[in-house]
């Protein structure tokens, strides 16, 4: 396989990981949404490159779905939600960003070690993409764990799903039906979560999920 093909695929996948770290770093809502759109854009580019390399035209559809749904529709919808909730000026003050970054690095190291050992015999193109994809998934999870604001948790969930798509396209032969159903389930999740956000706000006057703990009586 051509050296450049591999390098370019890795660069795009590596850029996805980098953008995941950028997501962890942001503490303002609008810049968070912009970075998320950037990640979707990189994902679309990466998937399109895989389609070109693997000569699999159905992956172009996946790339298009990622581009339209995640780089355009979801950020715009969330943008509106943020404005309507009136939290666009909030700054999240979750314990040190530095610490979160350190955790993130540990997760990347973990996924590298696990993936590269586990898939030693696999195709090199898929193998290292998988390692990056696992990092993106874990970083998305980390984001969901460390954020208190419900909207940033949604972003974490969506970026986790970006990692899944990256992993799925790296491995050859994922059927388009699965792809499309995943994409639409994410859209449904967005709608459901969007409705929930407003319900939560109505009930607690805040989208800080710690308010939920208080209502369950876990905090005095």
């Amino acid at each position: 396989m051509d050296r450049f093909v591999l390098d370019f695929a890795h660069t795009l996948a590596g850029f996805m990981v980098l953008v995941s770290f950028m997501l962890l770093y942001q503490d303002r809502m609008f810049s968070l949404l912009n970075v998320f759109a950037l990640q979707a854009l990189v994902l679309a580019a990466s998937v399109a490159w895989q389609a070109h390399v693997q000569d699999a035209p159905h992956l172009y559809v996946t790339a298009l779905i990622a581009l339209v749904l995640k780089a355009i529709i979801i950020p715009i919808v969330l943008h509106r939600v943020v404005v309507r909730l009136g939290i666009h000026r909030n700054i999240e003050t979750v314990g040190g960003i530095g610490l979160t970054m350190l955790f993130g690095m540990g997760l990347v190291a973990l996924s590298m070690v696990v993936m590269l050992r586990a898939t030693a015999a696999a195709d090199p193109l898929a193998r290292e993409d998988l390692a990056f994809a696992l990092s993106v998934v874990l970083l998305g999870l980390l984001m969901m764990v460390t954020r208190r604001n419900a909207v940033s948790q949604i972003i974490g969930f969506m970026s986790l799903e970006n990692g899944l798509i990256l992993a799925a396209t790296g491995a050859k032969g994922m059927p388009l039906v699965v792809e499309i159903s995943v994409a639409f389930s994410v859209l449904v999740a967005l709608i459901v979560i969007g409705v929930f956000l407003f319900r939560i706000r109505e009930r607690f006057d805040s989208v800080d999920v710690h308010a939920l703990d208080e209502s369950r009586g876990e905090r005095q």
């Binding site: 890795h10 660069t11 590596g14 960003i97 970054m101 290292e128």
Partner: protein, 317 residues
């Protein structure tokens, strides 16, 4: 004959960086003013400033020690040596065997050490604040720099800049680790040159100063030498980035004289591009709070570490 030629080329490099550094500063100021739709000072203004400062009398504080008087020359010497070692227009020069990334980091570190000492010497509070902030940034920027050095050294198999440039030139390809190292190096360069997200080089408000606060007490030729060292440092970082990540247009070992001339032109072009990109970035971003800087530099460290990590895990990155 060959020896004389080599020494001559090395001399050209030493004086080229010295001559070009204020011009780069003038260019960035001009371009910045232009981006803000103002006219800006003429390109040669930094040279005039330096001349003016050279002619002025030195005013020393009463309790300034010998350290305060000798520090500017120490800072200038260390910075100039470091700047002269980075391959600007040619690789494989006479002293290129000493042009090691770790040596350059150490030279810049010692220059900063003297600057911080000089800032505290007179005992004014602003100098002390400046020194302590500078040391805080340095303690964060240096680990990041070392991680970048590791990444580059693992890719190229050497820490010697001239050979790194030759390697990247010969085996040019997209490498994830190198891309990460580039972003990290840009962040470190912004912090080290006290450019906008970290510090404002044009500030007049003492409380926000970092670099300027340390040199507040200097005047006359001492100030001129320090300003020249700061200009050299900026061109050093741009040349460093250019020589590692864009070594195209560098003259190799023993090229024809004509090749050297085009290489010098290419170098000045790279400096102009680098300076313009810097200004573009600076005008599109606001200065961050001092307490936000550790996170910014932590990101650089993280990127460098990630690059090193990827290289350790798999050779193909």
């Amino acid at each position: 004959m060959g020896m004389i030629r080599d020494l001559f080329l090395q001399g050209v490099q030493m004086f080229l960086v010295l001559a070009v550094a204020p011009l780069l500063l003038g260019f960035t100021r001009r371009a910045k003013a232009w981006l803000l739709r103002r006219k800006g000072p003429p390109l040669l203004q930094p040279y005039r400033d330096l001349l003016r400062l050279m002619r002025k009398e030195v005013v020393l504080a009463e309790n300034a020690s010998w350290l305060f008087r000798s520090a500017p020359y120490m800072i200038f010497a260390a910075t100039w040596v470091a700047a002269a070692l980075v391959p600007t227009f040619a690789t494989g020069l006479q002293f290129s065997w000493t042009a090691d990334l770790i040596v350059i980091t150490a030279l810049l570190g010692s220059a900063r050490f003297f600057l911080a000492l000089a800032g505290m010497d007179v005992g004014t509070s602003f100098g002390g604040i400046g020194s302590s902030r500078e040391m805080m940034f340095a303690s964060l920027a240096e680990p990041a720099m070392i991680m970048i050095v590791f990444t580059v050294a693992l890719v190229a198999g050497t820490t010697q800049l001239s050979q790194v440039a030759d390697f990247v030139f010969a085996h040019a390809s997209l490498r994830v680790s190198l891309a990460l190292a580039l972003v990290a190096l840009i962040i470190v360069a912004l912090a080290e040159n006290t450019r906008i997200p970290v510090d404002n080089p044009a500030t007049h408000l003492e409380l926000t100063m970092v670099h300027e606060a340390m040199v507040l007490e200097y005047s006359g030729r001492h100030l001129a030498v320090i300003e020249l060292a700061a200009a050299l440092k900026l061109s050093l970082y741009i040349s460093l980035i250019a020589s590692i990540f864009a070594p195209w247009g560098l003259a190799q070992g023993d090229a024809a004289p004509g090749a050297y001339v085009t290489a010098v032109v290419a170098y000045i072009g790279k400096l102009a591009v680098g300076g313009f990109l810097l200004v573009l970035f600076e005008t599109s971003i606001a200065k961050m709070r001092v307490f936000r800087v550790p996170e910014f530099l932590g990101a650089a460290f993280m990127l460098g570490f990630l690059g090193t990590l990827l290289l350790f895990v798999s050779r193909t990155f």
